[in-house]
């Protein structure tokens, strides 16, 4: 059990940027980002035993993170939580120059539909069309078609 935990901890530490980036870009506020982050980590932990290297680790992490965010249900009433987590960072309200740049990225990507958001994010991370297709669950051809449309959409939005 201890070995499994140590292994899982080091994997999460190595990929925390990926996980948190996905959660941030699929959230409306800091609380939601943190909730999604926790849910993703728990889903990764639960699926850890059954992940037997059927795909690359990076692909699996992306897949679980994106699935968690894409299928997250919004709670109508937010219950009062004790403070459980953090990445001690608030990308929604911090005002330093770097964060403003990141918020600009957030605003651009958030105008897209959820699946398109996932695709453009993976593309920006320099993933191949094949890898993107594997993670999202669509064909490589479909990825290229969607990317063209997404880029057109982003161009249209930036011209408005």
């Amino acid at each position: 059990m201890k070995e499994k935990e140590n292994e899982f901890t080091s994997i999460v530490k190595a990929h925390k940027n990926t996980i948190y980036t996905v959660c941030y870009l699929f959230s409306k506020d800091n609380d939601e980002a943190n909730d999604l982050f926790q849910e993703t980590l728990i889903n990764l932990w639960r699926g850890f035993d059954s992940f037997k290297g059927q795909c690359e680790l990076k692909t699996w992490i992306w897949r679980v993170s994106l699935n968690t965010c894409l299928t997250a249900e919004r709670k109508k009433k937010r219950s009062v939580k004790t403070v459980p987590l953090s990445m001690d960072i608030n990308l929604f309200t911090d005002t330093d120059d770097d964060t403003r740049q990141i918020q600009q990225l957030y605003r651009r990507i958030n105008k897209l539909g959820v699946v398109d958001r996932a695709i453009i994010l993976l593309w920006l991370e320099n993933m191949s069309y094949e890898e993107i297709g594997q993670i999202i669950g669509i064909s490589t051809k479909n990825v290229s078609v969607k990317l063209v449309r997404i880029k057109e959409q982003l161009k249209k939005m930036s011209n408005e």
Partner: protein
């Protein structure tokens, strides 16, 4: 889309990665989930011990009544049942003091203390019981030597030689598992302090 806009987005994403690189994760929920898994292991062992003790208390008197025909010392029978009953209630008290179901909501320092106390008192309980068990086995052997023939005594000694190590291994391996899980939990909780 203009190339420079895409490049801008890539640069912004790189900035985000750089920012996140400096951050650390502390995930209480995940820590609690792993602790809960460990507690389930301790709970399972608790129920095993209590069930075995319970069965001994139920069937023990009947066995002693039967062995009475062979001049089995009644005092030994009562001692065995008394020790089993004592073990049953002592283990129940110790595990309940640990309060396995609510510890994840408790103050971390209290939880660590509870686990350390549990280990300490459980070891004392076992040491006491091993002593009584050794006396019981010697007494049974002396009783058996009076009623069995030489051949029967040899067979009985061989059976004991097989059963005693098996019994010891069963008890100690279970205890080792509980204690090592407690140690892991204490270590995990101490990281939070």
């Amino acid at each position: 889309m203009e190339n420079n806009e895409l490049e801008e987005m890539k640069a912004q994403l790189a900035l985000l990665n750089e920012k996140l690189e400096k951050e650390h994760i502390v995930n209480e929920k995940l820590t609690k989930e792993t602790l809960r898994n460990k507690m389930r292991l301790v709970n399972t062992n608790k129920y095993f011990i209590l069930v075995v003790d319970g069965l001994c208390m139920v069937f023990g008197p009947a066995l002693i009544w039967y062995l009475r025909m062979y001049n089995f010392p009644i005092w030994l029978g009562f001692l065995a049942i008394a020790v089993t009953a004592f073990d049953f209630f002592a283990q129940l008290v110790l595990f309940n003091k640990l309060n396995l179901n609510s510890f994840t909501n408790e103050n971390v320092v209290n939880s660590i203390k509870k686990f350390k106390d549990f280990k300490k008192y459980h070891k004392i309980l076992l040491t006491f019981e091993w002593g009584i068990t050794a006396i019981a086995f010697i007494s049974i052997f002396l009783w058996a030597s009076q009623i069995l023939s030489k051949q029967g005594l040899i067979i009985y000694a061989i059976c004991l030689a097989l059963l005693i190590p098996l019994g010891i291994w069963s008890v100690t391996s279970r205890q080792k598992k509980i204690y090592s899980t407690c140690d892991e939990i204490i270590e995990q909780l101490e990281e939070k302090v």
